[in-house]
């Protein structure tokens, strides 16, 4: 798979990133580079620091050491960070439950006064239609299924017209059919906008189907970075254990 042509995405570089909570070091010097428009998947077991890494990149957590660069500029400085449009799709969807689906999707535009209310309504309707949720503007998030909530979260990210989108476990807690739908949505978003995408997931099928490159992370360190084929051919025992893990079925006589 090759990154889409003429992308509007940005390059991302993470240099020797470290983050601790109290005495526990969660990120132990993470480094990688993501090119414009690339879909970069971070895989690894639970507790390996994937979500912390994502939250540090988007600026929700401050790193203890190391740097994050977008287009070769450090985004430690808030003014530099604000030059780029970034969005994050949270594991839980993180929709505001006190607002309708339409208000959630149009929130960014409304709050920053970027469009008139009538225009926002049109954009929200169009974006919701693009993720297969036409006509659900007035529904409360709590009335939607888990998969629909994730698609609303993707729609909310789309409205930002992001240059960088971060996905935190986008298919967790979804049935296989819904996981495929959300996976397709992620591919479509990347192809339509050319945004650089960084996905954190446990879902091997999603990772192999969407990734230009995959990074395997374990105990706060990157073990391996490569294409889906390279990851599958890796001789690293931890990588192999993770990608080949299956439930052993009891042998019958």
């Amino acid at each position: 798979m090759t990154p889409p042509a003429q992308p509007q995405g940005v390059t991302v570089e993470v240099r020797d990133l470290r983050k601790s909570f109290r005495a526990v070091e969660v990120l132990k010097g993470i480094s990688f580079q993501v090119s414009r428009g690339e879909r970069f998947v971070i895989m690894g077991p639970s507790g390996s620091g994937k979500s912390v890494l994502l939250k540090t990149i988007i600026g929700l957590l401050r790193p203890d050491a190391g740097e994050i660069l977008i287009e070769s500029q450090s985004i430690q400085n808030r003014a530099v960070r604000n030059q780029y449009r970034m969005a994050m799709v949270f594991q839980s969807g993180a929709l505001l439950n006190s607002m309708t689906v339409g208000e959630n999707v149009g929130l960014y535009l409304a709050e920053h006064g970027l469009k008139a209310p009538a225009e926002i309504d049109v954009i929200v309707a169009r974006v919701l239609e693009s993720v297969g949720l036409k006509g659900l503007e007035n529904r409360a998030p709590s009335e939607l299924s888990g998969g629909m909530q994730k698609r609303v979260a993707i729609a909310r990210a789309l409205v930002v017209e992001p240059q960088l989108v971060l996905f935190d476990e986008p298919t967790s807690e979804l049935d296989p059919l819904m996981a495929v739908t959300v996976g397709e949505e992620i591919l479509r978003l990347n192809e339509r906008t050319g945004a650089t995408s960084i996905l954190v997931t446990h879902d091997r099928e999603l990772a192999f189907a969407t990734a230009h490159r995959i990074a395997m992370i374990n105990e706060g360190r990157i073990l391996f970075i490569g294409t889906a084929q390279e990851v599958q051919r890796s001789t690293d025992p931890i990588v192999q254990r993770f990608i080949r893990a299956e439930l052993a079925t009891p042998k019958t006589q």
């Binding site: 600026g59 993180a94 960014y108």
Partner: protein, 248 residues
Amino acid sequence: MFHNIGEILILFWQVLLALPQLWRLRHKVYDQLAYIGLASLSMVCILSLFIGGVLALQTGPVLVEHGISSVLGGMIGLSMCKELAPVMIAILVAGRIGSAMSAELGSMQVYEEIDALRTMNIDPVRFLVLPRMVAIAVSLPVLVLFSIPVGWFGGAMVCDFNQKIAVSFDSFFQNLREVVEVGDVLNGLLKSFVFALAIGIISCHQGLITRGGPRGIARSVTKAVVNSIVLILILDYFLTRFLLYVQK
């Protein structure tokens, strides 16, 4: 509460800095006003009616015994507007509204809704805390303004109908008018305004620092209510001292 005092003051400062943007959030303020004011009004009236009544019931017979029952109107009038209405209604609002504020913000924190706002460059202080602070700062004095006459009425009823007290409605309110001045009511309203800011900022702060799922939310709600009540009583002492000094 005291080890977080720095964070609370910073949050309060951030709310003040966000005040100029209030106009854009007016619809959120109206929602909160309706929620705080209308939801609490009936409870405030019931509470105040009985506070006035109990005050009359406790003090009336003693004053009658000493032959000074004619001061009942003024005494209950002053007690209600300077102390009981602002303090009791603030405690009621801390329990009803402070808990709801910390639970709502706490659940938004735990379920990453506040993080989602931050990723959209939307300041949670401006978007969530400011409308709540303004709404509580407006509605608590208004509730106290309702509470004061209802409390007077409760006291007057007991004085009139209780055989041991037997102070008529007219003489109760005549004495009340002679003693209570507009400044005394304003005194109570000023106190309630300060209490409202204390409840709002403690509850919102507690909500925003919530960690750890449903148990964390429960812990935040308890802390918000307990800390608000403690602060209301501490502030009441110092405000009373200050107002007595100013009125000299």
